[in-house]
C-alpha cells in the first residue's frame, strides 16, 4: 500500500469538505457559524439549569458539570456522524459525483471516513468552546478540574472510531434511500442524544429501554470523557468501563467493514450508486 498516495487522497478529500462547507463565506465567519449553532443549544440548557437552581435554591455543581459536558461532548460525536452520513446523499443527489468518486477513490468506506474527518475537527473545535463557556456560565470552578490528557486523547480516538463506524453503517443503509438519507442521519443522532447519557444517566431510563442504550458505546465514552476531564467524577471502575468501550469499538469496526461491503455490493447489484430523485 502506497501511504503517500493515501495521504494525498486524504488531504484532497478533507480540503474538498472544507471548501464545500465554508465556500459560501469567509473563514472567520464560517468558524463563527460552526460555534454559534451548538453554542445556543448549550445556552438553552445552561439557562434551564440556572432557572431551576434559582427557583429551587439548590445549586448542584455536579449536575451542572454533567449537563454541560454532555451537551458539549455530544456535539463532537453528532457533528462528525451527521457530516459523514450526509456525504452519500450530497454526493449522489446534489453533486452527482458518487459514481465518479466510487471509480476514482479505491475504497468508498475510507472515502466516507475522510469526508467525515473534517466534521469531527469542526465538532471538536465547537465542543472545546462550548465546554469552557458552559462550565463558566454554570459556575463550575475550572480550578477543581483535573484533566487526564492521555486518557482524553485515547477517548477522542475511540470516539472518532466507534461513531464513524456507526456512521459508515448508517451511510451504507442510506444508499438505498434517495429520499430519506438525511432523515436517517438525524434519527441516529437523536437516538444517541436520548440514549447516550448526554442529559441524564442511563439508569434513569425505563428498564425496557436500557438494553437499547447498551447497544451503543456512547454511554461508556461519555462517562469516561467526564472522568478524563475531572478525575473526581465518579464512574465506578474506569478500567472496566474503558474495557467495555474498547470491546464495543472493535465490534463496531468489524461490523462496519462487513456491513458496508454488503451494502456496497447490494447497491451495485441494484444499480443505486447513481440513483437520484432529480430534485
Amino acid at each position: 500500500m502506497d501511504i503517500g498516495k493515501w495521504l494525498t487522497r486524504f488531504k484532497a478529500v478533507v480540503w474538498l469538505t472544507w471548501k464545500e462547507q465554508s465556500g459560501w463565506t469567509k473563514p472567520p465567519y464560517y468558524f463563527g457559524y460552526i460555534i454559534i449553532t451548538p453554542f445556543f443549544q448549550l445556552i438553552l440548557y445552561a439557562y434551564m439549569y440556572i432557572v431551576i437552581a434559582f427557583y429551587s435554591g439548590l445549586v448542584d455543581i455536579e449536575m451542572a458539570y454533567y449537563l454541560v459536558t454532555g451537551v458539549s461532548l455530544y456535539n463532537f460525536i453528532g457533528a462528525g456522524l451527521y457530516g459523514l452520513i450526509w456525504t452519500v446523499h450530497s454526493e449522489r443527489e446534489h453533486f452527482r459525483t458518487l459514481k465518479y468518486t466510487y471509480m476514482a477513490f479505491p475504497n468508498l468506506q475510507l472515502y466516507l471516513l475522510s469526508r467525515g474527518f473534517f466534521h469531527y475537527i469542526t465538532g471538536a473545535l465547537s465542543t472545546l468552546v462550548m465546554l469552557l463557556t458552559g462550565l463558566i456560565l454554570t459556575g463550575v470552578p475550572l480550578g477543581t478540574l483535573s484533566v487526564k490528557p492521555m486518557l482524553l486523547i485515547i477517548l477522542i480516538i475511540l470516539g472518532f472510531l466507534w461513531s464513524s463506524q456507526l456512521g459508515i453503517m448508517v451511510a451504507g443503509s442510506s444508499i438505498f434511500s434517495s429520499e430519506y438519507g438525511p432523515l436517517i442521519s438525524e434519527a441516529v443522532g437523536g437516538i444517541l442524544f436520548l440514549l447516550g447519557a448526554v442529559l441524564y444517566p442511563i439508569e434513569s431510563l425505563p428498564d425496557y429501554i436500557r438494553p437499547f442504550a447498551d447497544v451503543f458505546p456512547m454511554r461508556e465514552w461519555m462517562e469516561l470523557m467526564r472522568y478524563a476531564l475531572n478525575s473526581s467524577y465518579n464512574v465506578g471502575d474506569p478500567n472496566q468501563l474503558l474495557f467495555q468501550l474498547v470491546v464495543k469499538t472493535i465490534i463496531y469496526v468489524v461490523a462496519a467493514i462487513i456491513f458496508f461491503r454488503f451494502t456496497e455490493n447490494l447497491a451495485r447489484k441494484k444499480g443505486l450508486l447513481e440513483a437520484t430523485l432529480h430534485h
Binding site: T8, K19, R268
Partner: protein, 328 residues
C-alpha cells in the same frame, strides 16, 4: 499479429426488477473490443448501451454472464478494473459547483493518487489538448453545457486511463462543440493517449465518423458487429432514396407500407422549412411507381434523390425501425 482484446463480454445479461415486472436490459451480450480502436455501440435510447457501460465500469453488477476489462473480471477484480479506466457521460452536470473547474480537476487528480505537482502538470497537458483556458478558473456551476462536457472529458483523462468509456459524449451539445469533442476523441486514439475507447451513441454520424468497429444494439441484444463499411455492406442489395414532402402530408405516408419492395423508412421533420424527409430502403427499382402512388394520394413530392448507405439504414434494415423512433 493479432490485436489483444481489452474488453470482452460473454453472454452478459442484466435484468431490472420493478415489483413483479422484469425488464431485460441486456440479453446475452457478447462483444470483443481489440486494443487501439474506438469501438462504438449504436442504438436508440433504452437499447442497453448505458447499462453495458455501467457494468463495464463496475457501477452495476450483471445478472448473468461474464465481463472482462483489461483482462480483469468486472465483478471479482473491480478495484483493478477501476485503476485502468475512466468514464465520461454526456448530458450530465456532475461536480462541485462551488469550486472552479481547475479546483475540481485538482481534487480528482489527487483522489486518483497523483501528487499535487503531478496533477497540476497533468491539467496543463489536458489544457493543451482541450483548450480549457477560457473557463478553467470559473466556478463549475457557472459554465455552459459545452464547457461542462469539455470539463467532463478533462476529468476522464486525469488518471491516464488505458480504456476510456464515453457514454453519449456529445449529447445536448451544439454542432461546434460536438465537432470539437469528436476531434479530441479521434486525437486521443491516434496519439495513443488512450489505448481503447468504447463509445455509445445514438447519433449515427458520430459513430460513422469515429468508430473503427461498431456494434448495433437494440432491446438489449447485439444485432450486428463490424466496421462501418462491413455493416454498410449488409444493405448492399438495396437502394436508398430520400423523398422530401410537405410536412402537412406526413400523416398519409403510411401508404408506403403497401409496397413489398419498401424494406423500411424513417421520417425526419424540419419544422423551419415545413418539410419532411422520408428516407427509404428499397429492394428494387420501384421508385417511379411509389412516387406516382404518393401523388395520387395528394402527397406533394418536393424532391427525390438517391443516397449512399449509412449506418442508420443498416439499423433500419436490421431492426425494422429508425434510430430515433421511440419504442411502441
Amino acid at each position: 499479429m493479432a490485436m489483444q482484446t481489452t474488453i470482452e463480454t460473454r453472454d452478459l445479461v442484466r435484468i431490472f426488477k420493478h415489483g413483479d415486472e422484469e425488464f431485460r436490459a441486456l440479453d446475452k451480450v457478447s462483444i470483443e473490443v481489440p486494443e487501439g480502436v474506438i469501438y462504438g455501440l449504436l442504438g436508440p435510447n433504452g437499447a442497453g448501451k448505458t447499462t453495458l457501460i455501467r457494468i463495464l465500469t463496475t457501477l452495476l453488477l450483471p445478472s448473468d454472464g461474464d465481463a472482462y476489462v483489461g483482462g480483469y473480471h468486472v465483478v471479482r477484480e473491480a478495484n483493478k478494473v477501476r485503476k485502468i479506466i475512466n468514464l465520461v457521460s454526456g448530458g450530465e452536470r456532475p461536480g462541485y459547483g462551488i469550486l472552479t473547474v481547475r479546483e475540481n480537476l485538482m481534487y480528482y487528480g489527487q483522489v486518483y493518487g497523483l501528487s499535487w505537482r503531478e496533477t497540476k502538470k497533468r491539467i496543463e497537458e489536458i489544457n493543451e489538448l482541450l483548450h480549457l483556458d477560457e473557463f478553467l478558473d470559473k466556478r463549475l456551476n457557472s459554465i455552459s453545457t459545452g464547457m461542462m462536457q469539455k470539463y467532463a472529458l478533462a476529468r476522464g483523462l486525469l488518471n491516464h486511463p488505458q480504456i476510456l468509456f464515453l457514454d453519449e459524449p456529445t449529447l445536448g451539445l451544439d454542432v461546434q462543440n460536438a465537432r470539437h469533442i469528436r476531434r479530441v476523441i479521434k486525437h486521443l486514439i491516434e496519439d495513443k493517449e488512450i489505448r481503447t475507447i468504447l463509445l455509445t451513441s445514438h447519433y449515427m454520424a458520430e459513430v460513422e465518423e469515429l468508430c473503427d468497429i461498431v456494434s448495433i444494439i437494440d432491446r438489449g441484444r447485439i444485432i450486428a458487429t463490424g466496421s462501418p463499411d462491413e455493416l454498410r455492406r449488409l444493405v448492399k442489395d438495396e437502394i436508398i432514396y430520400n423523398i422530401d414532402v410537405r410536412l402537412s402530408d406526413i400523416d398519409r405516408i403510411r401508404i408506403l407500407r403497401r409496397f413489398s419492395s419498401v424494406v423500411g423508412y424513417t421520417v425526419k421533420t424540419r419544422q423551419l422549412t415545413g418539410e419532411a424527409r422520408i428516407r427509404m430502403i428499397l429492394t428494387g427499382e420501384d421508385i417511379a411507381r411509389i412516387i406516382r402512388t404518393l401523388e395520387e394520394e395528394n402527397i406533394h413530392v418536393l424532391r427525390v434523390s438517391r443516397d449512399e448507405v449509412s449506418l442508420e439504414d443498416v439499423f433500419l434494415r436490421l431492426v425494422g425501425r429508425g434510430l430515433e423512433d421511440e419504442y411502441e
